[in-house]
């Protein structure tokens, strides 16, 4: 499988996401311009111009009409997906670390960093309201009691919000009151990324403690652990196979001391149930920051610290591969 190299960013990729059908891929990076690509040939369809700082997070709604970005320029922006026009700018007090559309696409949330004496905040907006309307929900995460959230997701059917924290905790929040429902701490270090399975029943977390873990999303019951020898930056669950893919590498400041030969920047494929690694894909010459499966499960993409997005089509041998059991 010869990967498609998507070269459109000037700096490290921070997150990539497919739309629901998988014909488009959105990428955001430490440069301030989100990109959108055709997945069929890797051609760049366009850019979303307006941010003035690192864009940390991106999401597209289910019918691919609107795009949401969260950035370090103290704003979260809602774009018209097709034209690239800004619909709304939501100003924040500190940089936006993560943002997501709800299942229905009418609501979205963002989480902010702890910065300049501002405590981290979690907000939920209704996009049908005008830009200056009050948020549907807004509350502060008290850093005296728990560490700051690093990533967030909507639970199934918009019932709750899931956050992954700096100390390895994951939490559920009530969407009506902003109350902490429950939290578990399986990881020992910060959680870089969380992704749900296609049916939203399972949750995979990627942590700096060199592991990725699988949870039952509604109960946060810990199911599996995937161990590697490097901090894990991103993990994704295959929509068609019992596989997870992990990407990571040592921290950017240590990168120069290791050669690419060691294979620490490889994407690693694990069997979801057996927790065994069965394959690797190399290519990046820096840590992988974000991974995503195509919704049809027949290809996946990775975005790296090296600024490239690589789109890999799976070989038939991958699709045929079965573990002996």
């Amino acid at each position: 499988m010869k990967p498609l190299m998507l070269q459109g960013h000037e700096r490290s990729i921070t997150q990539i996401k497919y739309n629901r059908e998988g014909d488009l891929l959105f990428s955001v990076a430490k440069d301030s311009t989100p990109n959108v690509w055709y997945t069929i040939n890797g051609e760049r369809l366009g850019t979303y111009d307006g941010h003035r700082g690192t864009v940390w997070s991106v999401d597209v709604n289910w019918d691919s009409t609107k795009l949401l970005t969260g950035a370090a320029d103290l704003s979260s922006r809602l774009w018209d997906c097709e034209t690239g026009a800004v619909i709304n700018v939501y100003e924040t007090k500190s940089s936006v670390r993560s943002c997501n559309f709800s299942f229905c696409g009418n609501l979205f949330n963002y989480t902010t960093d702890r910065q300049m004496k501002h405590e981290p905040r979690i907000c939920v907006f209704d996009i049908r309201e005008p830009a200056d309307a009050e948020p549907a929900l807004s509350f502060v995460v008290d850093t005296k009691e728990m560490s700051k959230p690093m990533c967030s997701l909507w639970g199934a059917l918009n019932e709750y919000l899931i956050t992954g924290h700096d100390d390895g905790t994951i939490s559920h929040w009530d969407l009506k009151t902003g109350q902490l429902l429950h939290s578990v701490k399986e990881h020992t270090m910060l959680i870089k990324d969380m992704q749900l399975s296609s049916d939203q029943m399972m949750l995979v977390t990627a942590s700096k403690d060199k592991t990725a873990k699988l949870y039952d999303a509604p109960t946060l019951e810990h199911l599996k652990t995937y161990k590697t020898d490097r901090p894990v930056n991103s993990a994704a669950i295959s929509p068609i196979r019992d596989h997870v893919v992990l990407g990571g590498g040592q921290e950017a400041m240590e990168v120069t001391t290791t050669s690419t030969k060691v294979g620490k920047f490889d994407a690693k494929f694990f069997h979801l149930v057996f927790e065994e690694e069965f394959g690797r894909v190399k290519g990046h010459f820096g840590p992988i920051n974000s991974l995503a499966f195509h919704p049809n499960g027949k290809s996946y993409s990775s975005g790296g610290e090296d600024g490239f997005v690589r789109m890999h089509e799976f070989d038939q041998s991958y699709l045929d591969f079965e573990f002996e059991c």
Partner: protein, 698 residues
Amino acid sequence: MVANMDDEEQWEDVKSRKKRVEITNGFEEEPDFSDPDDYVDDISDSELLPDLLEKRPKEADGIDAVIVVDNVPMVGADRLPKLKTVISKIFSKFGPIHSDYYPEKDGKTVGYIFIEYEMFQGARDAVKGADLYKLDRSHTLRVNLFSDFDKYKNVKEEWTPPERQPFKDVGNLHYYLEEEDCSDQFSIIYEGGQKTAILLNSTSGPSVVEERPRWTETYTRWSPKGSYLATFHGKGIALWGGEKFKQIQRFAHPGVQLIDFSPCERYLVTFSPMPEPGNDEMQAVIIWEIFTGPKKRTFQADMSGDDDRQWPIFKWSHDGKYLARKAKGVLSVYETPSMGLLDKKSISIDGISEFFWSPADNMLAFWIAERNEIPARVIILSIPSRKEVRVKNLFNVADIRLNWHKQGKFLCVKVDRYNKAKKANISNFEIFHIQEKQVPVDIVELKEQVNAFAWEPTGNKFCCLHGESPRISATFYEIKGGKVECLETMERKQASHIFWSPAGQFVLLAGLNSATSQLEFIDTSDMSVMNTGEHLMVSDIEWDPTGRYLVSIVSWWAHKIDNAYWVWSFQGRLLRKHPTEQLCQLLWRPRPPTLLSHSQIKKIRKEHKSYSKIFEAKDRQLQNRASKEIIEKRRQLMERYLSYRRQCREVYLETTPYRRELRNGVNTDEVDSHAEDWDEVTVEILLEEEDIVLSDKE
């Protein structure tokens, strides 16, 4: 009343005066501490100043400083002054002498004298230093403390034998040799020294035998035959052994840093740079008897010179009968079990540089550097006869390295010389054939700098790495029928170290602590490279004692990330990788030498094929069982997972109506479940165009 009035007046007076004082200089006047006239002191001196009284001179102090010297020549008055000058010359170096007394009888001295030092230290040092002093052929001085005489006089007539110590059964120290599959144990220290574990390396992977937190404070050592594991602590050394790794012995030596076992595991030498508290003497080196535990002898170490900088300070002969140490110009050989100097005299060798015991005989080799037009010499000395077995002079020598053949058949002397430009070193080897008559010497010329050298542990081959980086070559030699033959030179190797398999024949060339980290497995029977591997940033290599496995280690002490040990087969097949958090040290547990005779081993070799069938069948069986176990485990995991997923599916299907509601009635459960709504888009892709004009050149 009047008196009171006076008092008040006086008080006022004092107050006003005090004010004046404060105004004038700001200081308060000191209160009066002197006793009233009628005060009687009722505190005794001992209560008041016990510390001072402690130092009050005592009667005994004088006696302690007196020594008695025996075996002094008996002389008349005419020669007494001469004797006195000789005696005072000997004894004044231990401290200032207060007085001396030469008892006389019939005009002649009686053969013993008394000397009183000003301080006790002088007397103590004189007893240590001057006892057994050879004044001349017939007079060997004996020196004792005067106060000791009382002690010796009071010895009881009857001798009571010391109480029998109950025998402590430590169990079978070599139980690990009874392991069914002859798997070997190894120790690891990991988590930055927090944890120490003993693991068993079986065919299916290592399993933990014992694991303890903070078992050692620095590192661990196995005894040479594998009976004991030594751990290091602030207060000393502890030895562990037996099936449960119980503590067998403790040796208190504060600040101990280095240890060395005697080859027979009877003695332990410990070194600490720290003085023992309460004892101002430096007991840097202590020799202990392992099984019973007492100190056998203590030595001081001289850290100013080079002699004691290298560990071990004491080198053991192969059978543990002798131990030797070199100091400036002398080689001291001690005997066991007395730990006394062999023949009570050190061997004086001016300029001794380095010495090594033969691994097979009580023979040691050393060399003397070139100086003042005297050529450098390599000498082989037999112990205890002190006979020089062979002496060889060498000229224009820069440095010499001695390498004994592992069975003591040969001594390879690597001689470094400067080339004509006086720049780079060039080396050659001088091979001493120890077992032949008159010890003939072969010379192997290399004309290049030698970086590493190693003898095959069993057999007569040796390997060396030579040349300048990056153009390093490896050359193999074999001594056949008394002749040195070059087997092969392999060029362009990225290696810095040679690791022979303990069983011989196979050798690993490794580049340690370098960017290449290449591992090359070579079979020296046909000089083929069996395999090459790479373990990035590898810092240590350890062959297992049987030569079946090899581990490459990235130690936390050398490199802060990727700490792991990898297990390789002797052919160079990577068997397993074990990333271990902050792995510090890995050591295989040694095995004692085989008890089989040479002919028995030969017989086993001959019948090797019949054995190997059995082992292969066993391996297959194990593998089958292991893979069966894995498959069984996977099947169970899968079952559990599938039942979990069935529940998920039920919940998912139940909630389908809600999902549709949220997405305006569109079914999005599958990627293409509302394909009828899709718009078909045709994407045209322009591939690159290029015109190439093909023309014939005429």
